[in-house]
Every structure is written in structure tokens, then in C-alpha cells.
């Protein structure tokens, strides 16, 4: 096995994981940063995104691209509405009390999971990718004829996986613009810093919270729609994204959006590379160990600020 081409392959696979993880973790981070809610049900919103994507693609039929694009629009929207409703029905009623929100979102986790099991069933179902060309990975050598590019046998990635990376970058850029350049973003940041003062300056804080909770869940769902053509929809698929999102958010610094992206790239890339060369289990072990180290030596995370 040659090292170079395999490293490229592993990095690309890692980048795909990082891209989806960045979106999912960003959803968790926004919800925690602005509402101070630890959303244990976040992985289930991810799963719902994938399941609804399957429903939408299945119902529409026709060319895979039609179903996929419809899913990319409707699944996050629907999940956001479900999450915002859950915020109004549950979290708002318990006044966002930290202990009770954790219990509340655990309840939400099981409700969503079991309802999906009863309706969608226990099977894993695929959504067809809108396009899926196999792209061989090039490498070079200095042989008898000097510098030569060749394509090692069996090493390839698909065009769709590259699309996931590009799409995630585009969506996260759009989110960054939303947060820093628009009035909605300004209102969200002000609410994050001092919700009481935000209300004293006309911000309907409850409504903002419902929107933020919907946005966070919608981001997870969008990540799931992107990943479902390579991973399949299944009612238990929310566990890993939840665990990895928590790892990312803790390493990046709770509530810090740049920190979340950096940590997602770090964890995703190392997950991909270690999985290819060693084993996926080792990747999870190292990621969890990194969290422990961060908690011991830098509790506020890479980019987080210590709160007084």
C-alpha cells in the first residue's frame, strides 16, 4: 500500500465527515450559545432530516436530483418547524431551567426516535444521490520516463462526496453572513449576550428562542440530507452525530462559532484519516480522549471565553 494516495483518500473522506459534522455541531453550538440549552435531542433532529429526506425523495420519484433538491429544501424546513414547536410546547413551559431542559430533551429524543420506528420502520433506506461519478485519485511517480501522473488501482472518491464538502462550506458561509451582517443575526447576538436587556430593547426573546431552536435543528437536518445518499436513513442514526457534535462543541468552546468549525475540521479529518489507516474505534477513542484533555487543561475550549 502506497502512503501518498491513501493519505489523499483518507483526507477527502475526513473532509466529508468534517463538513457534515461542522453543520450538525454548529446547530448544537448556536442553540447552546444563544439559549444556554443543552439539546440532547439534537441527534434525533439529524435523524429526522435523513428520514424526511427519504420520504420526500420516495414520494416524488422521478429523477434522483428532483427528489434530492426537494429534500434539501423541505426536510430542514419541516425539522425546524417541529423543533420550534417542541421549544414552545416543552422548553418554554419549563422556563429553560438547565436541569429540566436536559431531562426534557432526553424525553424528546425518545419520542422522536420511537415515533420514527413506528412509522418509518427499522430498515435502513437509501436516498439516491443526484449525481455520483467515480473519480479516480491521481498520484505521481518518477519512473523511467521521468515525472508521470497515474491513477492507482481501486482508489477513488465520488463527485457527490466532493459536492458535500462544497455545499457545507456554502451553507456555513451563508450562516456566517446571517449572524454577522443581518438584523436577525444582530438580534440573535444581542439576545445571546444579555437576554434581559434585549427584551428591554424590544426583542421578543421567546420568539427568538423558538427561531434559534428551529435553526439549530434545521442545520442538523441539512447535514443529514447531505449525508443520506452515502449513509442511508435509519432511526438510530442520530447517536454518532450527537456524540461527535458534543465533542466538537466542547473542544471548540461552547457557543463559539469559529471554534466549532475549527474543532469540526480537526475531529472530522482525524476521524477520517485514523479510520482509514487504523480503525474507526480508535478514532472515537482519541476524540473522546481529546475532549477529556481539553476539559482538564482548557475548560473553556479552543476559542471559548471564560464567563465571569
Amino acid at each position: 500500500m502506497e502512503f501518498g494516495p491513501h493519505l489523499i483518500l483518507a483526507s477527502l473522506e475526513g473532509a466529508v465527515i468534517a463538513a457534515v459534522l461542522a453543520m450538525t455541531a454548529m446547530g448544537l453550538s448556536i442553540v447552546f450559545g444563544i439559549m444556554r440549552v443543552v439539546n440532547v435531542a439534537h441527534g434525533e433532529f439529524f435523524m429526522l432530516g435523513a428520514v424526511i429526506a427519504w420520504w420526500v425523495a420516495h414520494l416524488l420519484g422521478g429523477h434522483p436530483a428532483v427528489g434530492f433538491i426537494a429534500a434539501l429544501v423541505f426536510a430542514p424546513l419541516l425539522v425546524a418547524i417541529i423543533a420550534a414547536t417542541a421549544d414552545r410546547l416543552v422548553l418554554q413551559r419549563i422556563d429553560y431551567d438547565p436541569d429540566r431542559t436536559i431531562v426534557g430533551t432526553i424525553g424528546l429524543l425518545y419520542i422522536i426516535q420511537q415515533v420514527t420506528l413506528m412509522t418509518f420502520g427499522p430498515e435502513a433506506r437509501p436516498v439516491e444521490a443526484p449525481f455520483n461519478q467515480r473519480l479516480a485519485i491521481p498520484w505521481f511517480e518518477f519512473g523511467e520516463n521521468g515525472f508521470e501522473i497515474y491513477w492507482p488501482w481501486g482508489l477513488s472518491i465520488t463527485s457527490y462526496k466532493l459536492f458535500i464538502i462544497v455545499a457545507a462550506i456554502a451553507i456555513l458561509t451563508a450562516l456566517w453572513v446571517l449572524m454577522t451582517k443581518t438584523k436577525i443575526g444582530l438580534i440573535m447576538r444581542a439576545t445571546q449576550q444579555d437576554s434581559e436587556m434585549a427584551r428591554a430593547f424590544g426583542v421578543p426573546v421567546k420568539r427568538v428562542y423558538a427561531w434559534v431552536f428551529g435553526l439549530g435543528a434545521g442545520l442538523a437536518a441539512m447535514g443529514a440530507v447531505l449525508v443520506v445518499p452515502v449513509q442511508q436513513a435509519h432511526y438510530l442514526m442520530g447517536h454518532d452525530p450527537l456524540l461527535l457534535s458534543f465533542i466538537v462543541v466542547i473542544i471548540g468552546g461552547l457557543g463559539s462559532l469559529p471554534g466549532t468549525v475549527i474543532a469540526a475540521v480537526l475531529i472530522g479529518m482525524s476521524d477520517g484519516i485514523i479510520s482509514v489507516f487504523f480503525s474507526p474505534t480508535l478514532a472515537k477513542i482519541l476524540a473522546t480522549l481529546l475532549v477529556a484533555m481539553v476539559l482538564v487543561f482548557r475548560p473553556q475550549g479552543l476559542m471559548g471565553k471564560l464567563r465571569s
Binding site: K183, L186, I187, R189, A190, Q193, D194, E196, M197, A198, R199, A200, F201, G202, V203, P204, V205
Partner: protein, 231 residues
């Protein structure tokens, strides 16, 4: 303009206000005085709806506002300058002012009007609010409240911890706002500042408003100052 009638309020089990009344007219400065813990800050927080009142009525131009959702109260035209300034520290000066401008429909020139009152802020528009000096923060907190073109301005110890030149500047702005016809409620501890600014003074003792008198009357009776404030 603003009328507070016999309100009761507190935090959970702790009753802070029992029977506070006051009223302030347009173009008038009403000072609220009382010892530490008398309930002055709670009174302003009750007016803003941050603390829910249990009894009594707060009305603005005849409309009861204590039953409105919290975010509707500033939209009726009440600008709040809280104790300790409470800026949005990570937002820039410009964004903090924007938060005030967004509260309700204001004319386009409002931003310039506010910045003309505090030229210093114009030089620091892109600076984060948390990095400003104490005086600049107070200017920004005032600018943020004025940016909603309020009918009523609530100020909670605006000169606390400021150097004399800054105190004078804040004082001048308060007087200017009075001339513009704002109704001003000013919580203040320093008696000299009160006597120089106030039209009338409401005394609060142990969560109860005990007396309202004109600044002249108060100046002429040092025994009352001693009784209510212990100085």
C-alpha cells in the same frame, strides 16, 4: 405621561416594593431617592416589565403597560439606561445603537442625532462596547436608549463611578432631553446632583414611596435629607 400607582413587586419570596406611586410629566425630571436597598432599581425594572408586578398599575399616556409582554413596553416609547450600563459587550458601538434604533419606527436622522449628542462615540463606531472606558460606556448606554426616541427616559444612577467632567456631560444631555420634552425618571444617590437637576423628588423608604416634594422644598429642609438618606 408615566404614572405608577401603588405597585407591589418582588423576586419570588422576597417582597421589595409595597406601595410605590409616582408620576412624571413631559418635560419634567423626577428624581427617585432612597437608601441602598430601598427598591429604586426594582422600581425601574418593574416599569420595564423585567420584574412582574403583583399589584397596582403602571400606565403610559393613560394606557396600562404592566399587562403588556416585556418586549412591547420599550416599543411604547420607554428608553431604559440600566444600572451598570448593561451594554451588549461583544457588539460594536454601532451595533449597540442599532439595537436602540430597531425598537420602533424612528426617522432616518435619528442615528445622526444621537451621535451628534455624543461625538466621542462617532470616533469609535467599530469598537466593541466592552472595550470602551466607563464614561464612554455610559454615553453609549444613553445613546442606545435615546435611539428609540423615547417619550420616557429611565436612568438608573447614570453618573455612578464617573469622573467629574463626564458627570457634567451626562448632566447636560439630561437637561437637553428635558428641553426636548421627554419625561425623565432619574434614580440618583448624590444629593447635590439631584438638587441641581430635579424638578420634583420622590422619596422611597423600605419599598414604599413616602413623600414627593419639589427640589426647592427638599433643598430647604436638610432634616428630610437626613431622615431619608442618612446623610
Amino acid at each position: 405621561m408615566l404614572e405608577v400607582k401603588d405597585i407591589y413587586a418582588g423576586y419570588g419570596q422576597v417582597q421589595v416594593l409595597h406601595g410605590v406611586s409616582l408620576d412624571v410629566a413631559a418635560g419634567e425630571i423626577l428624581c427617585v431617592m432612597g437608601r441602598n436597598g430601598a427598591g429604586k432599581t426594582t422600581l425601574l425594572r418593574s416599569i420595564m416589565g423585567i420584574v412582574q408586578i403583583e399589584d397596582g398599575v403602571i400606565s403610559l399616556e393613560g394606557e396600562a403597560i404592566n399587562t403588556l409582554p416585556g418586549h412591547e413596553i420599550p416599543r411604547r416609547g420607554i428608553g431604559y439606561i440600566p444600572q451598570g450600563r448593561r451594554l451588549f459587550p461583544e457588539l460594536t458601538v454601532s451595533e449597540n445603537i442599532e439595537m436602540g434604533l430597531m425598537v420602533r419606527k424612528v426617522s432616518r436622522d435619528t442615528r445622526d442625532w444621537v451621535l451628534d449628542l455624543f461625538p466621542r462615540l462617532r470616533e469609535r463606531l467599530d469598537q466593541r462596547a466592552g472595550t470602551l472606558s466607563g464614561g464612554e460606556q455610559q454615553m453609549l448606554a444613553t445613546a442606545r436608549a435615546l435611539a428609540l426616541r423615547p417619550k420616557v427616559l429611565l436612568l438608573d444612577e447614570p453618573t455612578e463611578g464617573l469622573q467629574p467632567s463626564m458627570i457634567e456631560q451626562i448632566r447636560q444631555v439630561i437637561l437637553k432631553m428635558k428641553d426636548e420634552g421627554f419625561a425623565i425618571v432619574l434614580v440618583e444617590q448624590r444629593i447635590d446632583a439631584v438638587l441641581a437637576l430635579a424638578d420634583r423628588v420622590t422619596m422611597i423608604e423600605n419599598g414604599k414611596s413616602v413623600e414627593t416634594l419639589t427640589a426647592k422644598e427638599l433643598g430647604a429642609s436638610p432634616d428630610k435629607i437626613k431622615r431619608y438618606l442618612g446623610v
